[in-house]
Amino acid sequence: MDKIWVIMRKEWSEVFKNRFVLFTVAFLPLILVALPLIMLYFTGSSGGDLSGLSGTDMPTRFAELCGGMTESECGQYFLVSQFMLLFMLMPLAIPVTIASYSIVGEKTTHTLEPVLATPVTTLELLAGKALAAAVPGVTVTWIGFVIFEVGAHLIATSPVVLARLTEPLWLLAIFLIGPLLAIASVSVAVMVSSRAHDPRVAEQLSMLVILPLLAVFFGQIAGLFLINEKLIMWMAVALVIIDAGLFAFAIQLFQRETILTRWK
């Protein structure tokens, strides 16, 4: 356990010196928290401006969720809901970036061999690297969410909308789906990193993990399905299975001999 922590601290002091990594870890949360707050601010203060949107742009199925809301409240809630999905970009993109730089970086500087020559187990090493990548992603997501909630309470005028923003649906997404996505993203980054020579290439390739999320995002906008608690739970179950598979594969790739002889 001690060694995992030693590795995590080393990863952080190295990887956060890189400006690409810093940019992703700092800039992405800033945008994703600020944008929905700005929207709440403008739609909330000007009252009925959204009434035009509610009937036309919003998928009809979404209205099912709006029981007890006025049309404008429903429109506001719909907009912010879209951002909740985009929030999930954080636990995907941040770990991918950190892991890509930390693993491909070690490959290009040939530091993995001396590390593997120490009594550290490959599982400790993988855990150290995975946690060093996942923990900032999840932490930033959670902090971002708290800031968003506090901001929303300061800005939003409608108590009905506010109540919706702390529903189990949101909490499940942030506190359950978030970490599960982070595990998936780290595992994918490990796999891609085993083949990549350039951390930027690894990062970009690994970013493909955000495609399913974007599919869900546009799916909801297009009204193909509706994100509700039941769907979130199914997603969580699916993610647990996917994570287990991906992580098992990452462990396979993360063996001493494999790293030294087949990671080119």
Binding site: D2, K3, V6, K10, H110, E113, P114, L116, A117, P119
Partner: protein, 315 residues
């Protein structure tokens, strides 16, 4: 101390190490000499429990590779082929990180001790990325010693360095000799092996020879006698060449170089023949062969045998 038995490693079709059987004694500096691609790094990786052999086995400090790898890793130090430092971290943090992974008890003290020993103490706060090649190599050597390993594996410690840095590193390795550690030194530099090692294994996928540097020179080769004459005449060359025990004769300036198997027996006869032919002998000596000659011949013979086999199997 370190024993290998029929140690063999294949990478797919490539045979990297073939049937290597060796025994190192405690405290010796053992040279592992071979050209690029000979399988030196692969051998070190097997002995430091980084990769496993395809067949055969080894014990390192009494622990079996493949079975007691954790014990081995704890007790051996390795200087990998490239220094592999965290360039963004200071020299001190580089060492402290590895000291933690090696479970060193007194981290600050050990880090300071080796930074000082290698002359890096004043630059401990600078990041390793700003270091020259020689300093990086020294830092990597410090890292290999932090946990006071009983056996130290050095993979071509000077091959990437300029002559001055190489000299410093060699001096340091020589100074380690007195500490009683067993040192396994891979190199393709003959001079280095000759100067530092107690015994040398000449290796190219297979073990070709194993002995002390002096014995290697003496045993494996015919000896070459040098006859300094006042003047060399072709007749002298002919006369010496006609002697039955003489292998080769070359003339060079005013010298005759004569290769024989047994100088003590053969020299009086050669001297007599030369005098009879009218030569004026000024003095007689023995040409000390460089290890390089031996080495090149071993490698060349080995390759000829190898290609010979290939011809036969394809024919």
């Amino acid at each position: 101390m370190i024993q290998t038995e029929n140690l063999t490693k294949r990478f797919g079709d490539i045979l990297a190490v073939d049937d290597l059987t060796l025994e190192l004694e405690a405290g010796e500096v053992f040279g592992f000499l071979g050209p690029n691609g000979a399988g030196k790094t692969t051998t070190i990786r097997m002995l430091t429990a980084l990769i496993s052999p395809t067949s055969g086995g080894a014990t390192v400090l009494g622990w079996k590779i493949g079975q007691e790898d954790g014990q081995i890793r704890r007790r051996v130090g390795i200087l990998t082929e490239s220094p592999g430092l965290y360039e963004g971290l200071s020299a001190e943090r580089n060492l402290a990180f590895f000291a933690r992974l090696y479970e060193v008890e007194d981290i600050a003290q050990q880090v300071e001790r080796y930074l000082r020993m290698l002359g890096l103490w004043d630059r401990r706060a600078e990041s390793a990325g700003t270091f020259s090649k020689g300093m990086r190599q020294k830092l990597a050597i410090a890292r290999a010693l932090l946990h006071e390993p009983q056996a130290l594996f050095l993979d071509e410690p000077t091959s990437a360095l300029d002559p001055e840095a190489a000299h410093m590193v060699r001096e340091f390795i020589a100074s380690l000799k007195h500490e009683g550690r067993t040192i396994f030194l891979c190199t393709h530099n003959l001079d280095e092996a000759d100067r530092l090692c107690d015994r040398i294994a000449v290796f190219n996928t297979r073990l070709l020879a194993l002995d002390t540097p002096t014995a290697l020179r003496r045993q494996l080769y015919e000896r070459t006698m040098v006859f300094h004459l006042r003047q060399v005449d072709p007749r002298f060359v002919e006369r010496v060449r006609s002697l039955p025990f003489v292998r080769t004769v070359r003339s060079m300036d005013d010298k005759l170089l004569v290769a024989v198997d047994d100088p003590e027996d053969n020299n009086p006869t050669i001297v007599r023949s030369l005098v009879e032919a009218g030569a004026e002998i000024q003095f007689v000596g023995e040409l000390r062969r460089s290890l390089e000659d031996i080495y090149l011949k071993l490698i060349k013979d080995n390759e000829e045998v190898g290609s010979g086999n290939g011809d036969r199997s394809s024919g």
